[in-house]
């Protein structure tokens, strides 16, 4: 793989940019892999990359039924933060946050990580108490956070209606300055290119339809392109995880729901931070292209149709119009939905299973994009060593039987 740099840009300019190398290969499947990763979203690709880079396991395939990063990775609103309440979650998300900070250099690919700060608004006294509790917990865990009053919020975000006549009065907010956004496609492509260059095969348009076992242990996957043998199979399939589990007769504590977002027409820069509100359920940021990126909530009912219900997006847009009266006349360009894998405690599952050689990384629900590097990193360790990474250990599927839930409904409250 040739490295991207200012010099390569300059060199390729001389040949009118017509000789750039393909970003990754399009290999034919080998007969047998050490690890087959099912699902070529950000988490699957990151898992492949860290397997190769940190554990020297390069005989790896990522099997993706559509195209790379076309699932929730392509559909999310790209918000990053690590201000989770409980120690287990805070450590996991903070691990990811630290990886974001050096990711573009590590991958030699600009993932456009932009630490522009994240505001979580409080609209009533209980919101403010929860915010104080969460920020204190974060600081005890070494994670940056501040409690701001309404005046400070107004200074950071002039666009937000913090006046007394606001429909949803702003009493204050939590502020994580290191939070922000990254470019979703670039994250998938960056991990894909880096994994490919270490020898990982990226098999697109390859759907897993069965998981084969031999004497109880996993021995490969059935796909629409035939059987692919594997010593280990790692499923990273977000909203489709229950379907993978059913292939081996397993059930997961997961329900799949549509989650929606929309973007406006591109406009001049008006918002240089991320503003989210649990209470009215809406959040907004502005992309580098100028679109306002607005996230809504999940449909209350389960669903696999990649579109959401109208009342949900209507509710969010009504709230956004009240919070940001200046954007009321901006037109929306596109709205879409992704299928998110929600768990009873709003925390992910990163786990071995009772079947030797079979692993699951799922349940990231409405907020897993921010965890992409960290999730891949700890899951690669779990798969390589057949033993949970210390940060992943509390997220084992066993917790739904032992009762050690990690209830992040508060910090994961608004869907991001």
């Amino acid at each position: 793989m040739s490295r991207y740099s200012v010099f390569s840009l300059f060199r390729h300019a001389l040949s009118h940019h017509e000789n750039w190398q393909k970003v990754w290969r399009n290999p034919t499947p080998k007969d047998v892999y050490d690890v087959v990763i099912v699902g070529g979203g950000g988490h699957g690709l990151a898992t492949a990359y860290y397997l190769a880079k940190e554990h020297g396991i390069t005989n790896v395939a990522v099997v993706e039924k559509g195209y790379l990063g076309g699932g929730n990775t392509a559909r999310n609103t790209t918000i990053l933060r690590s201000n989770y309440l409980w120690d287990e979650a805070a450590h996991l998300f903070e691990h990811s946050m630290k990886l974001w900070e050096g990711l573009s250099q590590d991958l030699n690919y600009n993932v456009m990580y932009s630490p522009r700060g994240v505001l979580n608004l409080g609209h009533n006294l209980q919101d403010m108490r929860d915010i104080e509790r969460r920020v204190n917990a974060n600081r005890l865990n070494g994670i940056d956070g501040e409690v701001l009053n309404a005046k400070q919020v107004q200074e950071i975000c002039p666009l937000l209606d913090c006046s007394e006549r606001a429909r949803y009065p702003v009493l204050g907010a939590s502020w994580q300055a290191r939070g922000g956004v990254a470019r979703h496609d670039a994250v998938a492509w960056g991990f894909a290119r880096a994994a490919d260059s270490l020898g990982v095969d990226l098999l697109q348009q390859t759907e897993v339809v069965g998981i084969r076992r031999h004497e109880g242990a996993v021995c490969g996957v059935e796909t629409n392109r035939g059987f692919i043998a594997a010593k280990k199979v790692a499923c990273v399939t977000a909203g489709s995880s229950s379907l993978l589990a059913k292939m081996v007769g397993m059930e997961l504590p997961i329900e799949s729901h549509p989650l929606q977002a929309c973007v406006s027409e591109p406009i001049k820069p008006i918002l240089d931070t991320v503003v989210m509100s649990n209470a009215v359920h809406g959040y907004m940021s502005q992309s580098d292209k100028g679109d306002l990126v607005i996230g809504a909530g999940i449909d209350s009912y389960t669903g696999y149709g990649q579109r959401g219900s109208f009342p949900v997006i209507e509710h969010t847009l009504a709230a956004i119009c009240e919070m940001f009266p200046d954007v009321r006349r901006v037109r929306m360009n596109r709205a879409w939905g992704g299928i998110v894998d929600t768990t009873p405690d709003a925390s992910p599952i990163i786990s071995k299973t009772h079947i030797p050689g079979l692993y699951f990384n799922c349940g990231w629900g409405t907020g897993g994009f921010k965890a992409t590097p960290g999730s891949g990193n700890v899951f690669a360790h779990t798969v390589a060593k057949d033993e949970p990474h210390p940060l992943a250990k509390p997220f084992s599927i066993d917790r739904f039987h032992s009762g050690h839930l990690i209830d992040e409904h508060g910090a994961a409250g608004v869907a991001h």
Partner: protein, 98 residues
């Protein structure tokens, strides 16, 4: 936007009037004291999350405030039937044998 026919009100109403209450026909353990952790966990947290035909409970919160059941396709969102609590669904998936 879903339209649900409430079997009690006998009216077709918009989704906003209802709350979704999860998978239907989950039987409450008869003797909770004797359940193992495994059984408790399964009862509380594990759902079939079907892709296709799904039986689920809905609550007519802005109407008669009663619970009823719905058979819905979770891919096309087609609603096959709604029926009262205690009744059995007419539309079922071949695979659903439990």
């Amino acid at each position: 936007m879903l339209h649900l026919f409430c079997p009690y009100c006998q009216e077709l109403r918009e989704e906003n009037e209802f709350h979704y209450r999860g998978q239907a026909h989950i039987v409450r353990p008869k003797d909770p004291e004797s359940l193992s952790d495994k059984e408790w966990g399964d009862y509380l947290f594990f759902r079939n999350n079907s892709k296709g035909i799904h039986h689920e409970m809905w609550y007519h919160v802005s109407g008669c405030r009663r619970f009823f059941n719905v058979t819905r396709n979770t891919v096309t969102y087609e609603i096959y039937e709604t029926y009262k609590i205690g009744e059995t669904p007419a539309v079922t998936d071949k695979e659903e044998t439990e």
